[in-house]
Structures are given as structure tokens and as C-alpha cells.
């Protein structure tokens, strides 16, 4: 193949790649830009302004919902990390039927459509209340339980990947030195998978903060989460206030992801030299 054709092919390839990245980022960048637009119209640039941010902070409905979502996200992420850790451990160290069952359950949860998870969780809660009287009614508890369930699958994936790299002989050494199995696990293995626990927690946290569909099914009156409030205002049309809120969320997530990547890199370094 001559150099010119090679050059054309290369150019086409680069165009395709840049198109892909542009496709991913242009909508987000425009959203951020227009959150600073003084005009209410999307296509008209009315000058730089932070008025949508100030009106955002006066919107009590949004603020209450945001606070609710934060509570749910922290609770469900923390418990999901625990369940995900146990699941990750079982996926790496167990064998046979129970491992297969866990693989199937957690694997399906990862990709299962939200509407399916939402409806089945709601039916579960309604029936549990009938049978054992708990959880009484629907609210932040049921939302947290549902989020904890699907988020634990993501934590399990992250923990499992990390745990597969951990040398079991370190834990065995602790056992030889007289540690009980639980002690050896908590004192030796858990610190080794800590980066995975941190990124798993962050992932669970964002997933919970982001969820609209499952929360719509399992929340009760007066427990609308932030995405639910955003959704109902988006359905009424694009509002610049939502642009401002979205920008803040994007900034928080970008900050979280970048710091998680840095933490991961920082914490992983000593292990790789071992």
C-alpha cells in the first residue's frame, strides 16, 4: 500500500476516533456552558450569568430532595460495600454450585433493566410488609435497600478483580503466626483490597445518586429523590436551573472519579513493588 493511501486511511481512522469522543463530550460541554447563560432560551446567548445557580439554591424542593438522595447514597453505598466484599470473596475463593449461583445473580443484576429491578423490588417490599410487617410503608429505607442490592453487584466486580491479584500466601502466613481466619482476613486481606473497596464505594454512591427508575418504584409519598425531582421538571421542559444543577453534579462526579483514580494509583503502588 502506498504512503498516500495509508495516510488517508489513518486520517479516516483519526476522524472516527475524534467523532466518538466529540459525541461523548459535546452534549456535556454545551450543558455546562448554557448553565451560565443569562437567557432562558437555549439557542440564544444572553451573556454570562450565575443567576440559575442562585435560584437553584433558593429552590427548597430540589435542596430537600438532594439531601434525601445523599443520605440514601451514603447508606446504600456503605452497606453495598460490605455485601460486595463478601460476594467478591466468595466469587474468588468458593467453587461449585454456590459460586455459580452467585455469579449468575450478581452478573444478571449488573445488566438487568431498571424497570425490572424496580418493579420486583416494590413487590418484594409490599409482600414483606404483609408477611413480617417490615419495612413499614415505602420511603428512604426501601430506596436504600433497593440501591444497596444493585450497587453490591458493582462492588463485587471491583473487589473480585482486585482479590484475584492478592496472594493468598500472605493470609496463610498470618494464619501460621496464630491469627484466626477472621482476623487474618480483616487485618491482612481487607487492607490489601482497600483501593477496590474505595472505588467500589464511590461507584455504589454515584449509582445510587443517579438512579431514577428504581427509586420511582420503591419510594413512597414525600420521599422523592433528586433524580425524581429532576425528571419531573425535565418533563415540563428544559429549565436553566436544571442545567446549573447538572453542572454541579457533573463537577462533583468528575472530581470524585479523578480523585478515586489518583487514590487507586497511590494505594496500589506499594503492592506492585512487593
Amino acid at each position: 500500500m502506498n504512503t498516500q493511501a495509508r495516510g488517508t486511511a489513518r486520517l479516516g481512522f483519526l476522524t472516527a476516533v475524534s467523532f466518538g469522543y466529540a459525541f461523548l463530550y459535546v452534549p456535556i460541554v454545551l450543558l455546562v456552558l448554557y448553565s451560565f447563560n443569562d437567557s432562558r432560551l437555549v439557542t440564544v446567548w444572553g451573556g454570562f450569568s450565575t443567576r440559575w445557580y442562585s435560584s437553584l439554591f433558593e429552590n427548597q424542593v430540589l435542596l430537600t430532595a438532594a439531601w434525601r438522595s445523599l443520605q440514601v447514597a451514603v447508606t446504600s453505598a456503605s452497606l453495598a460495600t460490605l455485601v460486595g466484599l463478601a460476594a467478591g470473596l466468595a466469587l474468588v475463593r468458593l467453587s461449585g454450585f454456590r459460586r455459580g449461583l452467585l455469579m449468575a445473580c450478581f452478573g444478571s443484576l449488573l445488566v438487568m433493566p431498571d424497570v425490572l429491578i424496580g418493579l420486583s423490588m416494590l413487590l418484594l417490599f409490599v409482600n414483606l410488609e404483609q408477611w413480617v410487617g417490615w419495612p413499614a410503608g415505602r420511603g428512604l429505607t426501601t430506596v436504600s435497600l433497593a440501591h444497596l442490592t444493585f450497587a453490591s453487584a458493582y462492588v463485587a466486580v471491583v473487589v473480585r478483580a482486585r482479590l484475584m491479584q492478592v496472594d493468598t500466601s500472605i493470609e496463610e502466613a498470618a494464619r501460621d503466626l496464630g491469627a484466626r481466619p477472621g482476623q487474618a482476613f480483616w487485618l491482612v486481606t481487607v487492607p490489601l483490597v482497600r483501593p477496590a473497596l474505595i472505588s467500589g464505594w464511590l461507584l455504589a454512591f454515584t449509582l445510587s445518586l443517579d438512579d431514577l427508575v428504581v427509586a420511582s418504584f420503591v419510594s413512597g409519598p414525600g420521599s422523592s429523590t433528586l433524580p425524581m425531582v429532576i425528571y419531573s421538571s425535565v418533563r415540563l421542559g428544559v429549565t436553566p436551573e436544571v442545567n446549573a444543577l447538572a453542572t454541579l453534579l457533573i463537577a462533583a462526579v468528575a472530581l470524585g472519579v479523578i480523585s478515586a483514580a489518583l487514590i487507586n494509583r497511590f494505594l496500589s503502588r506499594p503492592d506492585s513493588q512487593r
Binding site: 459525541f23 466468595a90 452478573g107 425490572l116 484475584m164 481466619p181
Partner: protein, 294 residues
């Protein structure tokens, strides 16, 4: 207690959790799908009631299932979901192939940032990412403004609330799920192999089609499944970007539940969705098991 027993006993937490929060709910879905809606709490009828003679009577009904098979709306929803999910998978694949290849062949220092740049949007709110497209696609939106301004079209295109808008939104939402597995398999292909092909006179395109793509086949399949499965049941994109004719399984289920308060039909729809997804789900499991023979 031995280490093996510690692992074994700690496994009961996730196992028990899945039994109560995943398997039991599916069983309840099945049970509710044989009920009829009613205006009481819970809003569906009992399956077994004690009759006047003091014996248990079966009160279940196939009504919800019959509706599902007889009403063409649901068939259209299933067809719409299958078509849109397949189309989304295809566009994601076409977009992701060059991206994943570029990341896998980029200098080592570039790979993590490039990969992070693909994952980052996935971490930002799904709802907000879909919402961002509304202001781009609507008749007085930016795409139309740009096209009108440059004189390419002389009347605004009606993209929002159409199939095209749903396709764009879904492709946008699920693209990272395709790029990641593709990248993972592309990255494992040795440079030597590609060099050998080039030395033997293959063009880059030939090398890609004959060597790289066949080797990356498991990644292609995994990516397709990771996009197809959630796309089948998506609600947010068809609801916000689609029009009235974009009826899909996810929207049908949502409407049965929230508008009609018909829990049995919603349950039957959910089970239909699960049944359709069972094969792709099993395929995905097998792929992942082959990845790590543990």
C-alpha cells in the same frame, strides 16, 4: 474454624441477600402476574382464598397474560424494543471499534487518560446525559440552529420525539459499555502479531479484519450483550427523547404500573422482558466464565 470455613460462612451474606432481594422478587412477579387488579391494598387479588366450605380455592387468572398476547400494543412494544436495542448495539459497535482500537494501540501513558475519558460520562447521571440531548435535538435546538445557519437545511428538522432521537440517546448512553470490553480484548493482542502480518504484506485494514477482529471476538460479543440487555428495557431514553410511536417494553411496563395501576399486567410484562433476556444473560455468563477459569 479454618480459612475455608470462614470463606464458606461469609458467603451466606451475599447468598442470602440474593435469595431475598433477587430470587424471591422474581417469584413474587410470577405470582402477581396471575392476579387481577383491584382497588385495595395490595392492588391485586389473592391467588388462594378460603371458600365457604373452608377449603382453599384457586382464584388465579391468566387475564394479564392473555392481554399480553392479544393486545397488539404489547407486541409492538416488544418489537420496538428488539429493533431499537439491536440498532443501538450496531451503532455502538461501529462507533466503539475505532475508539477501542485507538486506545489499545496508543502509547502506554495515553491509555489510562483516554480510557478514563470514555468512562467518565458513564459516571455522570444517565438522566442528565439524556436530558442534555433535548436542548440539542429540539426544533429550536442547537443542531437545527447550526444547520439552518449554515444553509444546509431551510426548515428545522423534527429530530426530537422520533426514532432517530431515541437511537442517538441510547447510543450515547451505552457507548462506554461497548468500548470497555473491546478495549480489553484489543489490548491483549500482541504487537508482534500485527507486525508479522504487516511484514507479510497485509494492509492495516487486512490485519484488522483478519487478525485483530477475530481475536477480539469475545470482546465484541460481550460488548454487544452489555449494550443490548439494558437497552431492551430502557425507559428514560424513549420516554424523554421518543415520541408517542416509540413504545417500548420499558415504557409499556412503566405506564401499566404508574398510569393504569395494573400491577398484574406490569408483572407479566416484566417477566416477558426477563424471558427475552434470559438467553443473552446466559450467554454473557458463559463468556465471563471463560474469561477466568477459576
Amino acid at each position: 474454624m479454618t480459612s475455608a470455613r470462614f470463606v464458606s460462612s461469609s458467603a451466606w451474606l451475599p447468598l442470602g441477600w440474593m435469595a431475598v432481594f433477587l430470587l424471591l422478587p422474581v417469584a413474587i412477579l410470577l405470582r402477581v402476574s396471575f392476579s387481577e387488579p383491584r382497588f385495595e391494598q395490595p392492588p391485586y387479588t389473592e391467588l388462594l382464598v378460603i371458600g365457604e366450605t373452608g377449603r382453599w380455592l384457586w382464584e388465579g387468572t391468566l387475564q394479564a397474560w392473555r392481554w399480553l398476547f392479544e393486545d397488539p400494543t404489547y407486541r409492538d412494544a416488544l418489537r420496538g424494543s428488539l429493533a431499537m436495542a439491536s440498532l443501538t448495539t450496531l451503532t455502538c459497535l461501529l462507533l466503539a471499534l475505532p475508539m477501542a482500537w485507538a486506545i489499545a494501540r496508543a502509547p502506554l501513558a495515553w491509555r489510562t487518560p483516554l480510557l478514563l475519558a470514555v468512562i467518565l460520562p458513564f459516571w455522570t447521571s444517565f438522566l442528565i446525559r439524556v436530558y442534555a440531548w433535548i436542548s440539542l435535538l429540539k426544533p429550536e435546538g442547537l443542531i437545527n440552529a447550526a444547520l439552518l445557519g449554515s444553509g444546509i437545511i431551510d426548515a428545522p428538522m423534527l429530530i426530537l420525539h422520533s426514532n432517530v432521537a431515541v437511537l442517538i440517546g441510547m447510543t450515547y448512553a451505552y457507548l462506554p459499555f461497548m468500548v470497555l470490553p473491546l478495549y480489553a480484548t484489543f489490548a491483549r493482542i500482541e504487537d508482534d502479531l500485527l507486525q508479522a502480518a504487516a511484514d507479510l504484506g497485509a494492509t492495516p485494514w487486512q490485519t484488522f479484519m483478519r487478525i485483530s477482529l477475530p481475536l477480539a471476538w469475545p470482546g465484541v460479543l460481550a460488548g454487544c450483550l452489555l449494550v443490548f440487555i439494558p437497552a431492551m428495557g430502557d425507559f428514560v431514553v424513549p420516554d424523554l427523547l421518543g415520541g408517542p410511536d416509540n413504545y417500548m417494553l420499558g415504557t409499556a411496563l412503566w405506564n401499566e404500573f404508574f398510569r393504569n395501576a395494573d400491577w398484574p399486567t406490569a408483572s407479566a410484562l416484566a417477566l416477558t422482558m426477563l424471558l427475552v433476556l434470559l438467553l443473552p444473560l446466559a450467554l454473557l455468563q458463559r463468556l465471563q466464565r471463560r474469561e477466568d477459569p477459576a
